[in-house]
Symmetry: C2
Subunit: 336 residues, 2 copies
């Protein structure tokens, strides 16, 4: 074991030809005798030759590696997106390197440095909840490495983007509550400054506006993290008088947390209060009562983002676009 992997030189030596001829035979280039080509290909497959990607990328200045940075690899939504990316990357003969920021800006930047050192051909990023400053991303772009942002984008940083239409999703969710008769609807919002938080909040506000309901600041509660600090907010909601009759939560975990809390405190869902979440996590189908929620097509977001990035790598630069995928309101029992 530990033999040298077979190289182009080995083939050249055995066939008594030069390395450049072998190289040409292995690729689809003219200037090669069909017979030699056949001989080379045969020997190559017999020896189980695999080209050395490192050497290739060194001379080609392109690695076919794409770097991906997400806040957390575990997380139903992101792991679905990663899955979509992987499938598309595979089809197109690209390699993927994954990093997670664990929701910190520091890890995000250090991951980016590492990926750049690997000469990635492109970057797929969903920013951490701490990230506000686009300068690091600008630097990368100036080096000529294309970036596509997905889901959690940075408003100040122009680039191709793939997001779900969270505004519309939120709007539909809140409108659904209104149609069910809710008049005092709480929004448990996400961390400030994050695009997804703001979009969902806007959807909430506009839906109220459309139906001429007042926007009461006291009914808008902000999480700092995503789930960790939701419980105190939920307690606050339960103590509000009169009790709100609807909740639109930033995500399913928060919504479920609220449902569990209400259940153990004698507040009935949906009779006393209706609840809608966001994400369509597996838990939403399973919780009792099942949770109405906004489905985001994570797998599709991943596929699309990867597709766009690959396009940007290969072809001439087009105008930067923002692609919005539609959400779907999954109506279940928590709002019936």
């Amino acid at each position: 074991m530990e033999k040298h992997p077979v190289t182009i030189k080995d083939i050249a030596r055995q066939l008594n030809i030069s390395v450049s001829t072998v190289s040409r035979a292995l690729r689809n280039v003219a200037d090669i005798n069909p017979d030699t080509k056949k001989a080379v290909l045969e020997l190559a497959s017999r020896l189980n030759y695999e080209p050395n990607i490192m050497a290739q990328s060194l001379v080609r200045r392109s690695t076919r590696i794409i770097g991906v940075i997400v806040p957390a690899i575990h997380s139903h939504y992101f792991s679905q997106a990663l899955s979509g990316m992987t499938d598309v990357a595979n089809e197109n003969n690209y390699y993927l390197m994954f990093c997670q920021s664990n929701e910190t800006y520091v890890q995000e930047v250090s991951s980016m440095k590492k990926l750049l050192a690997c000469n990635v051909d492109g970057l797929l990023v969903s920013v951490s909840k701490e990230t506000k400053d686009p300068t690091e991303f600008r630097r990368v772009k100036e080096k000529g490495v294309p970036i596509v942002m997905f889901d959690r984008i940075l408003p100040d940083f122009p680039c191709n983007r793939v997001i779900v239409d969270e505004y519309e999703g939120a709007f539909k969710a809140v409108e659904h509550l209104i149609k069910k008769g809710c008049r005092r609807i709480v929004h448990i919002a996400g961390p400030e400054g994050l695009s997804i938080s703001e979009n969902r909040l806007r959807g909430y506000v506009d839906a109220l506006g459309k139906h001429r309901l007042p926007v009461d600041e006291k009914l808008i509660l902000r999480c700092k993290a995503f789930e960790e600090d939701a419980l105190p907010l939920i307690r606050k909601v339960a103590r509000l008088r009169p009790l709100p009759d609807g909740i639109f939560a930033i995500n399913d975990r928060t919504a479920v947390l609220a449902m569990k809390y209400f259940h153990s405190h004698g507040i009935a869902v949906p009779a006393d209060i209706r609840i809608v979440g966001f994400n369509d996590d597996p838990i939403s189908e399973v919780v009792e009562p099942s949770l109405t929620t906004v489905m985001q097509p994570g797998y599709e977001v991943g596929k699309l983002a990867m597709g766009i990035l690959i396009d940007e790598i290969c072809k001439a630069p087009k105008a930067e676009q923002t692609f919005r995928l539609k959400t779907r309101l999954m109506i279940r029992n928590s709002s019936r």
Copy 2:
């Protein structure tokens, strides 16, 4: 933009010294004047120099890239494991390339080929449900690329392994049911031949044996896939007479499926039938009644597997071991 990234040569030119001197200054080697070293380091950081990993790996014959193959990136358990791996890899300055087999042998092998072409320093594999044949893995090992298998291992292929003690987990789960008074316990088992299926089955059988309960073949039902074909089996269970009084399911999704089915068919859980699952997916906490299940430490499995692989890459080969992480029985309402 699209400027050449700064190389060791640029530094050498600007400082009027040779590339080898720069190279030495950048690394921790003797044979370098402290002053020159300082000058080089300063200029390097001023120019934002990053060494080209491709070039380094070409000459060092080591890429610091580790390939990971799992059946599915989405999946609560695997995404947790990947998360653990990523964190450990990062700490140790390794890069990760992820592939998913989508539970097919073909994709698994093609992923492996691709990763090898990238000259990965090691491989972390959890095999697909189709995989029986160890020859491809043997080949890799003969090339000197270390493999650590985790979770879904291949019995015929000797290597370092990290698994959870599924036997003990299953044993405890079934024993728990017995202690709650169950006497006719069904096992909804996983696909045949998979290590995890077999280990859990053995735990089931042995727990029955220990408590002198008969093993009834009619109470052991096999899934072919994991969840897709579970429903017919559950129907079968519901039609059994006398009705079984306990179920040990291969995973939480199957268990929840069963609970939902029973609920809509007037069978009470846990009064008529007690249920235990496997995995501790988020859904198990949330379902009504909450699901008793066997917790597997996915994140820890990932961390440990990566740690062992890195050890194997760096140090002299030690005897191959199988590391078993303990599970924990999470007792909830579905078995009370």
